[in-house]
């Protein structure tokens, strides 16, 4: 590793650290600006002022803001993100399981939309014109359809009218939470996951498909494709071995962006299908002024997105030394 590359890596890390602190500050003070009373999360709205005061004191909410912030940051550096106002659970215990639940939803959506989507995109791009136009238009329409509407439609059809699939949640009798494998690799879980994964994939498949399509269109213009044709390489071989491989790069870039975004962005899907995920936790915590949980979840998401970006940066730097 050359010293210039090392310097690049270190400077990117330092930049990200600064960004993280700024993000934490924005999140912290942002939540204090939202109207709402955090004591409402754990006392009766009609409770007397003395009780409310007592609870504020217990959670340090009666301290000046800057002091609250410095305490929060000090604890956060030590890995302590506080406890939820509502449940009194440590924040990591609130966020951890939801993170896994969302991940188990995001991964299949990613595989389907990016795997299947890019395959279809390559074929569309290769065919170009004719039915490719109708196909692309169709997926563009899917991309523009609000996912909660598609979700409700799926629920009404498969859950209510046909009554084939469960309408809400992640498991039917809640009895299978005896460990990771038993929970996520069961028929029951699969039955619950079908509709949300479908709704998510229908929405997300459009983007990789169109990216893959335009990428392959570009590659097909290249000289080496003509060269391959001139050599007499069969068309299928040209598509898969020569064109698709080269067109894959922009799709991979997209995938990394998708992942960071989808962890928090699947909230509408989680809402429609009552999925106990991170996005829903974030929304609920925000609406009931449960600051520690909401801040913890947002910080985690920012950290995730920053890490992925950082990773992509490093990858690019090693692929293309000009960047470093």
């Amino acid at each position: 590793v050359g010293s210039s590359r090392l310097r690049f890596i270190l400077s990117r890390l330092a930049q990200n650290l600064v960004v993280l602190v700024v993000v934490a500050a924005i999140i912290f003070f942002g939540f204090r600006l939202i109207p709402g009373d955090p004591t409402a999360a754990f006392v009766d709205p009609l409770a007397d002022l003395e009780t409310k005061q007592m609870i504020k004191a217990r959670f340090g909410l009666d301290q000046p803001l800057w002091l609250q912030f410095s305490t929060y940051m000090r604890n956060a550096v030590a890995g302590d993100f506080g406890i939820s106002f509502a449940t009194k659970l440590p924040v990591y215990m609130e966020i951890g399981p939801r993170f896994v639940n969302t991940l188990m939803l995001v991964l299949p959506v990613m595989v389907i939309s990016y795997g299947l989507g890019s395959l279809v995109g390559f074929v569309f791009g290769y065919v170009r014109g004719g039915w490719d136009l109708y196909g692309s238009a169709f997926f563009l329409v899917l991309r523009s359809t609000p996912p909660f509407w598609v979700g409700l439609l799926l629920l009404t059809l498969f859950g209510y009218q046909l009554n084939w699939l469960p309408i809400a949640g992640m498991r039917s009798d809640l009895a299978s939470d005896d460990g990771f494998l038993a929970t996520f690799f069961s028929l029951d879980f699969a039955r619950h996951a079908i509709l949300p994964v479908m709704a998510g994939s229908i929405y997300f498949i459009g983007l990789p498909l169109l990216v893959a399509r335009s990428a392959i269109l570009q590659v097909m213009e290249e000289d080496f494709i003509d060269m391959a044709r001139a050599k007499g390489v069969p068309e299928l071989m040209i598509l898969w071995r020569h064109a698709a491989r080269n067109a894959l790069l922009p799709v991979v870039t997209q995938t990394s962006l998708f992942f960071g975004w989808a962890m928090g962005g699947l909230v509408t899907i989680e809402y429609v299908f009552s999925w106990p995920g991170l996005g829903r936790l974030l929304v609920m915590a925000t609406s009931r002024s449960d600051y520690p949980v909401a801040m913890g979840a947002l910080l985690l998401l920012s950290l995730l997105i920053m890490t992925i970006n950082l990773f992509t940066d490093f990858l690019y730097a090693s692929l293309d030394p000009r960047i470093a």
């Binding site: 409402a40 754990f42 009194k88 215990m93 859950g159 309408i167 949640g169 809640l174």
Partner: protein, 561 residues
């Protein structure tokens, strides 16, 4: 240029003169127009019918020369922050109180929103209402143990409140609830907003066929269960399946003995309670010590939904194996309705010394996986945060062993999915939240669902700001605006007929405590103008309302004695 300077100069001089010479009393200058009125109310998403009714009120106010602007708040905490703290610049505040069975007792609705203790930042006496006579009655009624005497006081207090036009109920919803009648029999809906969400209902529901586990769902995010941490009425309901209380409200909202066999008042502040023979889920007997211990714990570690019940109690002591004596700080009339039905009895052998044993910092609510041994009709099998709870029936319950084998309580994220699950038979019951009018229509044609109506104990209301600089300090002004509330249109058109007009802070369904003599000004725009004219208000050439010439607000109506 010089003309402009001299003009500005003389204007400044005039303003300064006015400021110095002006009357120091808060009297409002002659011919001054009534300023624009701020209404703080619910957003459309929070309470659509109320929101629409208030928009209608704004239109009607315009007809009598009043301008109003609307500030929408998304939920109760936001509303309290805006209407319940300085500066108190608003004229009308509008929101709603959720009905709860405990609130069938007039204590909470009469005291917290209207007595002087609750005036101030974060307090719930939003309009700063302070009528000494009302204050006296409100205090006295909940110290009066004799039910008949108490009723007379409550009646009078209600009447004063309504006559003073400080507060007004606009409408009470008639909630629609459904359950799966193909699977379940012996279903009881309780009034007071608990609907199907009662221990009583789930214990008595009888399976009709092969389906023997009750499937309950509600739009909530289920939290971990801990009897010393009760974030909402949903967790409270679930805790009540597991823990018994001394008394329980029946379907009509009347307290009946439960863990207590009977109670007798020795004097105004001493009550003796005899307990039934009961067992904890682990087989140990429930004793008087457990009851005394529970009250001591809740006194030390107050929890929402329980605190109001514990506060009036000075001490609880075991006097025999199955007898306890309550000493009260002051006479407290709602003791049975409130305290006895509210406070869960927890096992001493589980919770005694929990802080040290479990290594907690300061409060038993920090026990992350608490031992949930209770004595109630259901035993906890599993608590899955964010998803729900699983129970089995406690066949050995002393009073109401469940007819079902168990119960699964699931959290839903939205009302559409909850309804689809009910309609398709994936759910048997919902608990508190009613169906929407659209869903009600759907449900009428669904063979599986049985429809039940539940008139609300809570209400959507408005209060007037009675502080010094508010035009609503003047009784005539309040009366005129009260004449502009079209309750018929709100209940029939905006609420699709699924609401009843309100007036008193006691709901019509609460027959025992509602004073039938209470009435509110009828909707009548002509009468509104007449009231204003009689009080000396005038209108300028543009139709704007002006304060009377020598404006001096009359705060309360003249009473006949």
């Amino acid at each position: 240029m010089r003309r402009v300077v001299s003009l500005v100069g003389s204007l400044i001089a005039i303003v300064l003169t006015l400021l110095v010479v002006g009357d120091p009393a808060p009297a409002i200058a002659q011919d001054r127009a009534v300023p624009e009125i701020t209404i703080i109310g619910p957003s459309q998403a929070w309470n659509r019918e109320h929101y629409e009714g208030l928009q209608l009120l704004i239109a009607k106010m315009e007809e009598v020369g009043l301008k109003a602007n609307y500030v929408a708040t998304p939920n109760w905490p936001a509303f309290v922050k805006r209407a319940g703290s300085a500066p108190w610049g608003w004229g009308i505040a509008a929101a709603n109180y959720v009905g709860r069975a405990q609130r069938l007792d007039p204590y909470e609705f009469l005291v917290t929103p209207f007595t002087e203790t609750y005036i101030g930042d974060g307090g719930t006496n939003f309009g700063a209402y302070r009528n000494p006579r009302f204050q006296e009655l409100a205090e006295k009624q909940h110290r009066t143990l004799d039910r008949e005497a108490r009723r007379r006081l409550v009646f009078e207090a209600q009447k004063i409140l309504a006559d003073d036009l400080a507060f007004m109920s606009v409408f009470h919803r008639r909630s629609v609830h459904v359950y799966n009648q193909q699977n379940w029999d012996n279903v009881t809906l309780s009034i007071g907003g608990n609907a199907f969400g009662t221990t009583r209902n789930f214990a008595s529901a009888t399976p009709k066929g092969a389906e023997r586990v009750i499937k309950v769902g509600e739009v909530i995010q289920p939290k971990p269960l801990n009897p010393f941490n009760i974030p909402s009425s949903h967790e409270y309901l679930n805790l009540r399946l597991v823990y018994d209380t001394l008394a329980d409200l029946n379907a009509a909202g009347v307290p009946e003995p439960w863990l207590a066999k009977s109670w007798t008042a020795v004097d105004d502040t001493t009550i003796d309670v005899t307990l039934r023979e009961a067992k904890w889920h682990d087989g140990k007997p429930v004793t008087a010590d457990d009851v005394a211990f529970s009250f001591a714990m809740y006194e030390k570690y107050p929890a929402a939904f329980v605190k109001a019940g514990v506060t009036p109690v000075a001490s609880v002591t075991a006097t025999a194996r199955h007898a306890v004596r309550f000493k009260l700080k002051k006479p407290f009339a709602p003791l049975v309705h409130y305290t006895f039905t509210m406070v869960p009895i927890v096992p001493q052998h589980v919770w005694d010394g929990v802080i040290e044993r479990e290594g907690l910092k300061r409060h038993p609510d920090e026990w992350l996986r608490p031992n949930l041994t209770g004595s109630g009709p259901f035993k906890v099998v599993k608590v899955v945060p964010d998803e729900g709870y699983v129970y089995t029936a406690n066949r050995d319950h002393f009073l109401m062993p469940p007819k079902a084998e168990g119960l699964v309580y699931k959290g839903f994220a939205n009302f559409e999915a909850r309804f689809l699950a009910l309609a398709s038979g994936q759910l048997d019951f919902h608990t508190f939240y009613p169906l929407s009018p659209e869903q009600e229509k759907e449900a009428r044609t669904n063979q599986r669902l049985k429809l039940v109506h539940d008139p609300e104990v809570g209400m959507s209301w408005i209060v007037f700001n009675m502080r010094d600089d508010s035009p609503f300090r003047d009784y005539a002004f309040r009366k005129a605006v009260s004449h502009l509330i079209d309750r018929r249109k709100i209940t029939q058109d905006f609420a699709w007929g699924l609401a009843d007009p309100g007036c008193s802070v006691i709901a019509p369904v609460n027959k025992e405590w509602l004073n039938p003599a209470v009435n509110c000004p009828e909707y009548n725009a002509g009468a509104a103008k007449q009231v204003l004219a009689e009080a000396g208000y005038k209108w300028d050439s543009k139709g704007r309302l002006l304060f009377p010439a020598a404006y001096k607000p009359v705060i309360y109506p003249t009473r006949k004695h």
